[in-house]
Amino acid sequence: MADALPTLEQLLALCAGGDKRAFGEFYQRTSTKLFGVALGIAKDRGIAEDILQQGYVRIWKYASSFDPTSASPIAWAAAIVRNVALDELRKAGRIRPVSWTDAEGDPLDRIADPVEAPAPWQLQALRRCLESLEPMQRNCVLLAYYEGYSREDLSERFDRPVGTIKTWLHRGLNSLKACLGR
């Protein structure tokens, strides 16, 4: 029965109390999504698994600091995994081979239309607000989020000075916040 299944929020609360079975269930229910997040940035399964391991250890350690009023459990956990992934990516000092081309399509298409359920309102609002940005600002935001592009990577990708990229990001992020209104 679906009702009997604990929510991710409840599982995190149990993890905070040291419940390893709850942690195992949290892993079962989130690992494919979080592995997707790690793999998106790392591009290598082995590296992505190391990132995921570090990420889940942090999730376990800091479960008590999860605040259900500021983010969903998956958004909170994804932020932790992304932080590990970004640190590893920057530490490796890897200059990303900038292979993304226009032929690969608009990065906005990465925000898939949900097949089964209606999109949560947060996603609908985010998508609408991203669409309202200048195209270059939007591309920078999405390539950074999904692919882990740095300012320098974006500069190379779009053949613009780093200062210009910084300005695009500055304006894009402020417009996005204003559009989302929270």
């Binding site: 609360a13 993890c15 905070a16 040291g18 390893k20 942690f23 195992g24 690992s31 494919t32 999504k33 592995f35 997707g36 992505a48 698994e49 995921l52 391991q53 250890v57 942090r58 376990w60 350690k61 800091y62 479960a63 008590s64 600091s65 999860f66 259900p68 500021s70 983010a71 969903s72 998956i74 958004a75 909170w76 994804a78 932020a79 932790i80 992304r82 932080n83 970004l86 640190d87 920057r90 949560p120 947060q122 996603l123 985010l126 920078c140 999405l142 950074a144 989020y145 999904y146 882990g148 740095s150 300012r151 974006l154 990001l169 500055h170 992020l173 402020n174 996005l176 916040k177 929270r182």
Partner: protein, 232 residues
């Protein structure tokens, strides 16, 4: 730093466009700059919907064994200082949560500030229970003469299907339950526990009806210290 600069810096931190050195600078800065910290948390929430749309991929089946082995030697709930987590511990309530778990583990007492002047003439103790350093969440008043405690919520946010339970935590003692409290309306009840000036009150998130074990089982989300009420 202007608000716009702060928004952009926090946004770039969450997006991940900063260099490693700049990431470390932002993490150091957010510990002192509550506005920056809040903006980072806000960006994680704003952009989190993008991660929910990320294509799924299955890690190798052995990975969970490695993680289980790693957490076997790691305590849950924020011992030590987090590094580059989604949220650094700048919040007294959460810091106390970690302290409370130390008490529960029987490993050490929490340090209670004993330098507080005793309010010998006060017949009433009051605690402002905070969500963070600036925003009071509840105000608790203990009337020592009548032995009653009243809890007035100011700005609480309670998860659905959970109850708030109030705990009295004296130095080097296990927390004592003062009962489940109403998150929206004034709760007043008699207390049998001896209440001391300078002790800590904490609120944890528990299953409906309160902790099944008699000790806090959920996260401590609010806490504050009882002091003599200067108005009484």
């Amino acid at each position: 730093m202007t608000d716009e600069d702060r928004t952009a810096l926090a946004g770039e931190y969450v997006l991940g466009t900063l260099s490693l050195a700049d990431r470390r600078r932002v993490e150091a800065a957010r510990a002192d700059d509550i506005g920056l910290d809040r903006e980072i948390i806000a960006w994680e929430a704003r952009l989190g919907a993008l991660s929910e749309q990320e294509a799924e991929a299955t890690p190798s089946p052995e990975l969970f064994e490695r993680i289980a082995a790693a957490i076997a030697t790691t305590k849950s709930s924020g011992f030590g200082k987090p590094q580059a987590t989604a949220r650094p511990r700048i919040n007294r309530g959460w810091a106390f949560g970690a302290g409370l778990l130390v008490v529960l583990g029987g490993m050490a007492g929490i340090a209670i500030d004993r330098t507080l002047r005793p309010a010998a003439l006060s017949n009433s103790l009051v605690a402002v229970i905070n969500r963070d350093v600036t925003e009071p969440a509840l105000i608790v008043r203990v009337d020592l003469a009548s032995g009653t405690v009243s809890v007035r919520p100011v700005a609480t946010e309670k998860p659905e299907n959970r109850d708030f339970e109030l705990w009295y935590v004296a130095a080097k003692a296990a927390p004592k339950s003062l009962g489940v409290i109403d998150a929206k309306a004034l709760t007043r009840r008699a207390v049998k526990t001896e209440i001391a000036n300078g002790a800590i009150l904490a609120i944890s998130v528990e299953p409906i009806g309160g902790s099944p074990t008699g000790a806090p089982t959920g996260p401590v989300i609010y806490s504050g210290k009882l002091i003599g009420d200067p108005d009484r």
